[in-house]
């Protein structure tokens, strides 16, 4: 099923290796339009500048993401890692 979306996410570091996230998105899932908000946590593996995000949507749903930090933190390339999902994208610093 095709899906597409945009949104905003804030990262707040609580240690050298991780922190919390919060944000919102506007999403079309097979044509069904929703605007969920979410909170979660993230971790960063320092040598590789890679990491993962675990998110909980307010109305249900628990997607997980793997990511890689590029351009000195100006962008984050991500992939959803839930079984059955083929979803990737890029986050850009505001």
């Amino acid at each position: 099923m095709p899906a597409a979306g945009i949104g905003e996410i804030s990262f707040s570091a609580t240690s050298d290796t991780g922190g919390t996230v919060s944000g919102s998105e506007s999403l079309s899932f097979g044509g069904l339009q929703v605007q969920p908000t979410f909170t979660g946590t993230y971790t960063v593996s320092a040598p590789q500048c890679t990491g993962s995000i675990n998110v909980t949507f307010k109305d249900g749903g628990n997607p997980t993401l793997d990511f890689v930090i590029v351009k000195g933190g100006e962008e984050i390339e991500f992939l959803q890692t839930n079984a059955g999902a083929v979803s990737q994208g890029v986050m850009e610093k505001e």
Partner: protein, 155 residues
């Protein structure tokens, strides 16, 4: 007289423009294996299919593919080097995390190149072009039945 002056002005403009273009082209042509000798994050999405070799597949034979990862290029000469990295990918919804090693070559005049990476029993090859002075690499997997463009950005 006016016409002659206009023509001279146009000729001067064209000459200047060509000069600028040639300078830019020469500056961009200075690619070696060391131009990309650093670590990049990458992202890809496209479609992969399974079928007989040298056979065009129907659309229904393809599944969506996407992934992210990091790759380090280490130059061994002006034209060759080695790569190593890791990636997280989804192949039709099947999730996997892989590491790889391999080699790459750079064609200096064109700032193009190719790489060969060895995964677990899988050796994809890719053609690439170095852009933006090595800050980014545009790439595509040229294994049969894969349509997967890559975008690498320096970390």
């Amino acid at each position: 007289m006016i016409r002659r002056v206009k023509f001279a002005s146009l000729l001067a403009f064209v000459t200047t423009l060509l000069g600028v273009l040639c300078v830019a082209s020469r500056a961009n042509a200075a690619c070696t294996a060391a131009t990309i000798g650093s670590t990049y994050g990458f992202r890809f999405d496209g479609f992969g299919g399974v079928g007989a070799t040298h056979t065009a597949l129907k659309v229904s034979a393809f599944v969506p593919v996407a992934g992210i990862g990091e790759v380090t290029f280490t130059a061994k000469s002006d034209t060759e080097g080695t790569i190593s990295g890791s990636e997280s990918l989804s192949f039709g919804g099947l999730q996997d995390q892989l590491t790889f090693t391999g080699t790459y070559t750079v064609n200096a005049p064109q700032c193009t190149g190719s790489l060969s990476a060895t995964f677990e029993g899988f050796i994809p090859t890719q053609d690439f072009v170095i852009v933006n002075g090595g800050e980014e690499i545009e790439s595509r997997n040229n294994r049969e039945h894969l349509w997967v463009p890559f975008r690498c950005a320096r970390r």
